[in-house]
């Protein structure tokens, strides 16, 4: 669990206003606020987790280019950014699937050779099991549970991100949790 305090809406909107004025310092602040969550979401949502850094970079570059399009009255900054991330992940997975199909890319998941990886075996195994179950979820459930757990968004923010109602998001989360609980308990 991350220990950081989530950014307030007022802070985030002020940063977006500065970004729209072309202040590059605001971009650095926006990355500090949402970078970790977006990278985590991308790592879990992408078929090839190592592309998460590229996707996170693209999210913030698009935010920089199109900052003036953000309308505070239409939703939270987090929803706007995560919507870009969700769409980019869909595009990446689609393109990656085609490239792997025609043999341009192989199916890669590099071995973790970082120091201490052996000692962290239990945590990695738990992560692998959880990822395997999440991969089996229907797309909307998967997106909702990842936005909740990896992005740490509220129900309202997830609803804005996915363009649906809070009630629908709650349903998606209930179903996703039920599947995860059942499958993970079974595997344990």
């Amino acid at each position: 669990m991350t220990a950081h305090k989530p950014p307030t809406q007022a802070d985030a909107k002020a940063v977006m206003a500065a970004l729209a004025r072309g202040e590059r310092a605001a971009l650095a602040r926006l990355i500090a606020m949402y970078g970790p969550g977006i990278r985590r979401y991308a790592a879990q949502s992408l078929t090839v987790a190592s592309e998460a850094e590229d996707v996170a970079q693209e999210v913030f570059l698009r935010a920089w280019r199109h900052a003036e399009r953000y309308d505070p009255s239409k939703g939270a900054v987090s929803s706007w950014l995560y919507r870009i991330a969700v769409n980019l992940c869909i595009d990446h997975n689609r393109r990656g699937g085609f490239r792997r199909f025609v043999g341009i890319d192989s199916m890669p998941e590099p071995e973790d050779d970082t120091p201490g990886a052996e000692a962290d075996y239990g945590a990695r195994q738990r992560l692998a099991q959880t990822q395997a179950v999440i991969r089996t979820l229907p797309t909307r459930q998967k997106q909702a549970i990842l936005l909740k757990a990896a992005g740490e968004l509220s129900g309202a923010e997830i609803a804005m991100t996915l363009g649906t109602s809070e009630g629908a998001v709650e349903q998606l989360l209930v179903r996703a949790r039920a599947t995860l609980r059942a499958r993970l308990e079974l595997e344990e």
Partner: protein, 111 residues
């Protein structure tokens, strides 16, 4: 809603929250919070984006002269070839006219 229902809902909400926290913990890595590299990469790309926006055309020609030179050469070649074909198909008195027309086309093709 009865007290029992309220208690059940509250308990369920609590367990959901706990479940979400546990799931977040599975995904979290200590290095996630370090965004220095991400920030550096994004900011350096914003500089490139700005530079491209302002004087892109001239910069493109200067930094990548080969594609432009190839395009220019290609147009010259097409003009010369067309001129040659037209001049070689001309017969009799019209030969010089066709030849001149071919030359003109080659010049136009070049520029």
């Amino acid at each position: 809603m009865s007290d029992h229902d309220n208690t059940t809902t509250a308990t369920h909400a609590k367990t959901d929250a706990e479940f979400d926290r546990a799931l977040s913990a599975v995904f979290a890595h200590p290095e996630d919070e370090d965004v220095a590299e991400l920030s550096r990469a994004v900011l350096s790309q914003t500089v490139t984006v700005n530079r491209t926006r302002s004087d892109g055309h001239v910069a493109e020609v200067l930094s990548e002269p080969l594609p432009w030179a190839l395009g220019f050469g290609g147009l010259m070649a097409i003009g010369v070839a067309l001129g040659y074909v037209l001049s070689s198909t001309a017969l009799g008195d019209g030969f010089l006219t066709w030849f001149a027309f071919g030359d003109l086309l080659s010049v136009m093709g070049g520029f």
